[in-house]
Amino acid sequence: MTTNKSITGSALMFEVLKQHDVQHVFGYPGGAIMPIYDALCDTDISHFLCRHEQGAAFSAIGYARASGRIGVCFATSGPGATNLITGLADAMADSIPVVAITGQVSTKAMGTDAFQEVDIVGLSLACTKHCFQVRNVDELASILHQAFELAASGRQGPVLVDIPKDIQLAMISPALEVVGKTTKKVSKVPANVGKALALLNQAKMPIAYVGGGVGMAGAVAELRAFLSTTGIPSVATLKGLGACDADDSHYLGMLGMHGTKAANLAVQECDLLIAIGARFDDRVTGKLAEFAPNAKVIHFDIDSAEVDKRRLVDAAIMGDLKINLPALTMPLSIEPWRKKCHQMHDDFAWNYNAPSKGIYAPALLNQLSDKLPKNSVVTTDVGQHQMWSAQHMSFDDPANFLTSGGLGTMGFGLPAAIGAQVSRPNDCVVAVSGDGSFMMNVQELSTIKRFQLPVKIVLIDNAKLGMVRQWQDLFFNGRLSETDLSDNPDFVMLANAFDIKSKLITDKQEVSKALDEMLAHQGPYLLQVKIDAKENVWPLVPPEKANNEMLEQST
């Protein structure tokens, strides 16, 4: 499209966003981004005003993870931009495609310690895939195109574009390049799988170790076909949950620090570990030198820097899982191993019989999981409630379970739920949170109120920073330090202050009816669930121990 009409850099920015099919953005205005917010008035793009830029960044992440689209967030210069950093680091750690656009002081003022000036390019070097700073309006469109392409290509991640105020105001007669939909630039050439095939044919006790890369590659169907045809038992990482069919009795659940006993024991025993879009993270491996000690390793990944980074592998298959997984999909003769894994799956099944009158969070979350309608999205914050959600809830797609994995950011859940709800307005979205995490981005209740987003919040309340308390009990001689949150606000009153319906339950007899009431409510809802502060997450693999040395709940 060529036009003789002069438009501002801000207007051009929105034209480029439209070209990339951006329909929703999350942000917060301020001085250095005012021209962009003025131009917003002339666009069809829906802007969701958050109440903290960190909330905007996490909403963009939730939006991206729930929909497969690129999440977009705006912030002004200085403190607005620095408030994005945690979100950018989270997106970087979990490989989420986000484009963050920040205002900046005018080019003439840059470098003079101007009001609300900060070197956001410098600050974002360590937590973005790349960052651009626009120094001339003529390069604005090209930079934005590159930003979208880069965020979505290969191993996805966050990209920041910093636009000085005078560039936002500058006039330009743009010749807009015709841009196709942003495509992932991943090789479509099948990898050489010869060595991997040989390993597969020799294996008697293989395990598929399924990570977040499967969902990000859009390869859930290919993975399930691979598992179904080969019959290989599987385990999943936190970000891989939802990729395997949770009803398959050869799916052993999550592995790692709080993984299931069956998953961890099977991995320790296996003779072939097939890592599919997973990166041997320390939460998974436990003591690395003793992880899967008897196994040869096949590693499927899109990022060659991950291969051999933590564990030397015997065969690496780089590229697109959708193309490469089918190349290894064939029947195998491993029936004795399958039987053994099935037995472990049954022998070590979860026990939900908690004797006390109080509410047992794992049982509540399991019940919630059974009651959720199909295609529901669950987000969590970080801590005990997160691990219980991962252990006791089932998901049928990785896009339906959004949790901060690599960075482990408290405060993720509520804004991520907002982003997920915006991207999937017809699906049920539930944010499972803890009383510690919930306070970290509680201001986003305002965003829920403003847009009447029907997000349901299940607040697991033990009046403690629960996971840290658990570690202090187990590894610091029970010396509790700064983990008492007994001065929390009245969460029911807090929700009501935002016109959000809420309820408190304390007794297990109340659970089923309360969950039904919450899910049936047309609108946002907060269910505060009091639990015993002494409950721990089990199993737990202590630091510097192998996964088979897990601690379990004493009976």
């Binding site: 390019v121 070097l125 790349h130 700073q133 990022d303 060659s304 820097a305 051999d308 690496a316 780089m318």
Partner: protein
């Protein structure tokens, strides 16, 4: 610690040197020396980087290779790690 040398071609962009140094430090490589000269093509820098680390140099090569502004990297020392395709 092992000493290694890398020859890097990078786009002439403001943040490229900072990124090369940040990645090197973060991934456990101590920078002993760095020279940077604009290439005669007017679009790229030729960077020579000497580093020391216990880690295999291929780790650094692969991480630097992910940077948007890096065009090409060559390990120049004799202890070249295998690079998987």
């Amino acid at each position: 610690m092992q000493q290694h040398s890398l020859k890097i071609s990078a786009a002439q962009q403001p943040t490229v040197l900072e990124r090369v140094l940040q990645v090197s430090r973060y991934r456990g490589f101590e920078v002993n020396s760095m020279t940077m000269l604009p290439n005669s093509d007017g679009k790229s820098y030729d960077i020579e980087l000497s580093v020391a680390s216990e880690q295999p140099i291929n780790f650094l090569k692969l991480q630097l290779g992910k940077l948007f502004d890096i065009n090409e990297i060559e390990i120049q020392d004799s202890a070249m790690a295998q690079c998987r395709a």
